[in-house]
Symmetry: C2
Subunit: 223 residues, 2 copies
């Protein structure tokens, strides 16, 4: 993890990503730039999260751990998006675990100095509301729709989103839980992809050989 507060750097990035349409100007002086490398952790689970992040580049996995100690993949966060809104709004006191899937760049606002500014910034709050409203709408709609299709389709979509540089190597147990399918059936479908030449197994990894095939399965669902 790398923090930059260089005025130059900060201002350029804020410009590019239209900071002023998302936050009021008063917040600009507090912005830091946090960058993370692939596989790095953005937050430790269970600990309070002292920033509001606006992720402008990259992709991350968000995890949650249950009472029994089991860890579950909760969602994929893709730029541009917020991270840490939940604890800012005090919907969830503790952070979920977040891991970078690719190199990530965030505009970071330290809550220590910005919390009350944020909670009184109508530009920000309007944006947040709009984003959350869209999320709530999309999320359940897409999820519901996707369940009308066989697992093959959902899995194809998942492989596309989680593979990086043509290589899929998620843990089967975790994915099965995330996609609400039995481990057995996931393996079965995976095998089927291999037989069809869509994926190729190489040690622990699966190489995507027929991208188009997966995309077609995904797009069938989306409308």
């Amino acid at each position: 993890m790398l923090i930059s507060t260089q005025k130059n750097h900060v201002e350029r990035l804020c410009e590019i990503h239209h900071f002023n349409t998302i936050f009021s100007k008063e917040l600009l002086p507090y912005v830091e730039i946090h960058t993370f490398q692939k596989k790095e952790s953005l937050s430790q689970e269970g600990e309070p999260f002292p920033y509001l992040y606006y992720m402008v580049k990259g992709k991350a996995k968000v995890y949650m751990t249950h009472k029994n100690g089991q860890r579950t993949l909760v969602l994929f966060a893709e730029a541009p998006c917020f991270l840490g809104e939940m604890s800012l709004l005090e919907v969830e006191p503790f952070a979920k675990g977040v891991t970078a899937m690719e190199d990530i760049t965030c505009l970071a606002l330290p809550l220590a100095t910005c919390k009350s500014l944020l909670l009184n910034d109508t530009i920000f709050l309007r944006n947040l509301s709009r984003i959350l409203a869209e999320k709530a709408r999309n999320r359940s709609e897409t999820l519901a729709k996707s369940y009308a299709y066989p697992f093959e389709n959902r899995f194809a979509a998942f492989i596309l989103i989680s593979a990086s540089e043509g290589v899929y190597n998620e843990m089967h147990t975790e994915v099965a839980e995330f996609l609400n399918v039995s481990y057995r059936h996931l393996l079965f479908t995976l095998q089927d992809f291999v037989v069809k030449g869509v994926l190729e197994k190489e040690g622990r990894n699966y190489i995507v050989k027929n991208d188009a095939f997966l995309k077609q399965l995904r797009d069938e669902m989306i409308d």
Copy 2:
């Protein structure tokens, strides 16, 4: 539909439902009380919706119509909740169709006079954000979890929420679509409930005979 702007009435209701924790005081003078009877329409689909409603009592069904003219049940709205946030935030320009399932009472803020007050009211925006955040979180979580259970469970939950005074009489075609299950399978499960004596068919209606049974099926899912 009945509109009241009697100061008495408005103030009493606002007091009871903690208006001041949800909106700033400046909005108080604009509040109207709108009441609807069971089966009445709160909004015509496709038309702009000129109010923000805060529903303090009752339950409603929200519908959407697709390009092809098919109408779909989208969600159940239960007090306390907002109606019309989407068009306020301009996420969706036109209203969905909303039908009262029971008698409904709403605090209504006319957008003509209140729109910009609302969009600059940090108390309101904070609340809206929090509610939407919780919705986004819950919705997908519950939905996902529920799909891990057989249809019987989801259906039981649906019957409980949609029945009024112990009578279930939704259209099977519509429900099948809403619950993402085939019409055939829905009928099959319904029949099964009848055979088990949980429901009793009476003309077009189904009388709930064994509430506890349905509740148990529902609660199995919820955790």
